[in-house]
Symmetry: C2
Subunit: 217 residues, 2 copies
DNA sequence: GATTGTGAACGGATTCACAGCA
DNA sequence: TGCTGTGAATCCGTTCACAATC
């Protein structure tokens, strides 16, 4: 079993390493050193080595890391070896943009980097607007939010992206939690309350912009 | 002068305190304790007190913090007492959604919470598409990216939101840096290189989703 | 010679705990 | 009494530095 006390900061750096190693793979490097990974990600080589050894001894002393091997290890650690089905709550402007963001990223990636298909898929969307429910938006079927639990099962949704207006965010998240989902990416500019078995990552643009204002000019 | 070594983690929590104190203000509380602020934000009361004392002694022993006074102090610290003009690079799906995100948030807030107008404004957008340049999108004028430096001056832009495709992100950021802007909110899924006088906050959805996948299910 | 893996040292952020004040 | 402000203690993540190994 994994998950024996891996610090959150380490988990959050793993996708950075994955991105780096896929870039080296694309450029047909066979091995990569912790120094090179550090340069790419903006971290120290010691940091890279220490992070990776949380999960195993992937390198060879005097040589470095085998690119293809490390890439596959990282994908397995992050559970990205099979499709990850994602639900989207709220098909407003932002929700629609997120659908395209993924679709575009995927198709661009498939075309240019066939070796590293992204396994993240928005597989179902949820809204309350009768004009949207029952339609298919850019290939993504749209259901009423009341069907959430049912569709989570049906589509095997493991992550929910919350793009509903702030005033409904907590309510929707409560339903998402009830449906059994354990990972939420939240865009609503509110502090959400969830059981601590559920992980929420927030992309709170208001917070980001307000803290940037401190440094601006 | 401020900015004498305030840790970044502290600055990033300030908007959270602002949000909390505005909520207490809205509910017409006159004073608020560090405990209440901690409950709202999910932090300890000691953390709240220590953070605030980086900027001054805002509280009264035995009483707590005066809500209106603390609110104004936080707005001044974050430089949110006058309009903060923001530029947007890339008016694709995501860029358009961001324009609406702000506009919607602002108008909703104005209607419901006239006491706390948000001072963040997307004042100009930039693209290279001839079909977009010269138009006005949802009240925001759209300029060619070549006019960046000129319009940064003209509109007093202090923050740039980067919503261009990944492959142009570094190039655009180089221009943004050259224009003199010191704060960037980046949505492109790439690691950017900037001088360390420039601050980049990233909203990298790919990274967020990939790290969530680790915890999912 | 090069580079990993890691114990030890370091540093910075969080929490504790209490003196001081309303 | 209640709650702030803060030095001291603690915790935790990062960096150092080097033995082990290819």
């Amino acid at each position: 079993m994994r998950k024996e006390k891996i610090p959150d900061v380490v988990v959050r750096r793993l996708p950075l390493y994955l991105r780096a190693v896929e870039d080296f793979d694309r450029r047909e490097h066979v091995v990569v050193s912790s120094q090179e990974l550090g340069d790419f990600t903006g971290l120290t080589s010691a940091q890279v080595r220490k992070d990776l050894t949380f999960f195993g001894e992937f390198g060879k002393q005097g040589i470095g890391y085998d690119v293809k091997f490390l890439r596959m290890q990282l994908r397995e650690i992050l559970r990205l070896t099979t499709d990850v089905h994602i639900g989207l709550a709220g098909l407003g402007n932002l929700g629609k943009a997120l659908v395209h963001y993924r679709v575009d990223a995927n198709s661009r990636q498939r075309a240019r980097f066939p070796v590293s298909p992204d396994r993240l898929r928005i597989s179902a969307a949820f809204d309350v607007d009768p004009a949207k429910v029952g339609t298919v938006y850019a290939g993504v079927p749209v259901f009423h939010i009341d069907q959430l639990t049912e569709k989570v099962q049906e589509y095997g949704l493991r992550i929910m992206v919350n793009a509903v207006p702030a005033e409904y965010a907590q309510e929707v998240v409560d339903r998402v939690v009830a449906s059994g989902i354990k990972s939420i990416l939240n865009f609503a500019p509110v502090t959400l309350t969830v059981p601590d078995t559920v992980r929420v990552h927030s992309a709170d643009l208001t917070l980001e912009l307000q803290s940037l204002a401190y440094y601006a000019e």
